[in-house]
């Protein structure tokens, strides 16, 4: 490869794949917000969804 193309290949990989690694690390460090407003807990229960049965629920 030419030096110019190699540099652009490396920079592209660094920025895009680096962006992926950085976003994954950020998500791992901050998986869920701890400052959510109260409420919003009336969504489907995990067990109900898995069972697929009739559930009284308001989304």
């Amino acid at each position: 490869m030419t030096t110019e193309a190699a540099i652009f290949l490396a920079v592209t990989i660094l920025v895009v794949w680096g962006g992926l690694v950085a976003s994954i690390l950020f998500l791992r460090a901050h998986p869920e917000s701890r400052r959510m407003p109260p409420g919003g807990e009336d969504d489907a229960a995990e067990t109900a969804r898995e069972a697929g049965g009739p559930v009284v629920h308001d989304t």
Binding site: M1, V11, T12, V16, G19, L20, R35, P37, E41, T59
Partner: protein, 528 residues
Amino acid sequence: MARASTGPADGGTTRTREQWSGQTAFILAAVGSAIGLGNIWRFPGVAFDNGGGAFMIPYLVALLTAGIPILFLDYALGHRYRGSSPLTFRRIARWAEGLGWFQVGICFVIALYYTAVIAWAASYFVFSFDLGWGDDPTAFFTTDYLQVGDPGFSLDFVPGVLIPLVLVWVVTIAILAAGVAKGIERANVVFIPLLVATFTVLVVRALFLDGAADGLNALFTPDWGALGDPGVWIAAYGQIFFSLSIAFGIMITYASFRPRRANLTSPGLVVAFSNSSFEILAGIGVFATLGFLAAQEGVAVGDLEGLTGVGLSFMTFPAVISEMPGGQLFGALFFGTLVLAGLTSLLSILQVVSSGFQEKFGWSPRAAATGIGSVSAVVSIVLLGTTTGLIFLDTADNWANNIGIVGSAVAMTILLVWVLRKGPELRYHLNAVSTFRLGSWWYVCVGVLAPVVLGYMLIDRIVDLVQNGYGGYPTWYLLTVGWGAIAFMVVFAAVMSATRWRSDPDALEPWPPYPPASDTRAVKEAQR
């Protein structure tokens, strides 16, 4: 189902809305949707044609200023209003429901031909084992395999296409019928790691081919003059826009299956960068392989024909595979990855249609998948399983993407930001539940930049299609299939909007309430 209050028909029970089993499952499904055929066969050629290494600059700018902001907009809509596109837009404004159904119409049209490409790739996966395309892959593809006729409508079915097409539809309907968690999620949890691993093996193999360095030189050597060409910037925004599966209902629908108290923007960044990372990987693999073909033929990479789309996959690549040592395995890997990438995207496209009908008519996932899947399959088989399938695909794809999706995005951004003034509420929603917080720059991206750039793309393409037609096809055919597809979406949207909801769609209190009731620390933080 979103508040699927049901009548006596199913015992008067209420079904819960389906959900992903967790954050990772959501990310994998969203990545599966975003990574599709366009990543493999569109990005490398577009990058090469638009400045090579220099293209990466407008590409990254487009990712950060349009791709990710519109992705967040989709997430905010589906998550706040707890529905696929029609229900979401209906809940925002009664008269806006039609835009949601227009997006469902886009998905329906795309699903018709997307299935055919997966069927072709499945056929070529089998052909790879004995290099069944022979010495002239181009003639084999158009004449022997597809038996392409003149533009028009034909009932001359091609058995070689028909059989895999039926199989793809059966598999797709079966996965959709199993529901979001047990169907789509499980499929993606298996298919996406398999896709990435397989494609990585393929790229590593390609890098060791003779001439691979020349291919990479062709792709990454920057043409700085291209940065002064507005067309290159438009191409970058177009690539990012089409690649991320945004603005036509998919990400709205997928986000609606997240629990209310769920992080949105941080997983969104992972999805967006995963998609681009795969594109870069595909660019390296495809151009390393093309470098090998150019070396074998004694020409420059730029002189090769068929560097994008159907031509790249089903004409150029078979030619390369025939010439390389161990080509059978390489071919199987390549076409296998096309099938996986296509199938995971197809599932997301059809889920938009399925969810739209589930919410409107109170259907179960199984009923919706079976009913809609069967109708779609019949239409798809009649239009794509015949000798005119390739021409239909080429035409419908051009209109569905360049007019349908781009038009949908322009309408959506203008409607939400300027007409309904929902920008602050949606930003508040994203910041209230997410760990990556958005500043006011987000308004500029989705409210100004996106409609301006995409609006320019839309008008430019409409003028071009009206003045020059497309693909050398007859005008009556373009009117019927191209503009006809758009007319179908509009009429479908009008008819479906006028249809009665099975249950009250407006019975929803968006959470968190906006404007926020109290001036708590959390609210302040979310508004920051």
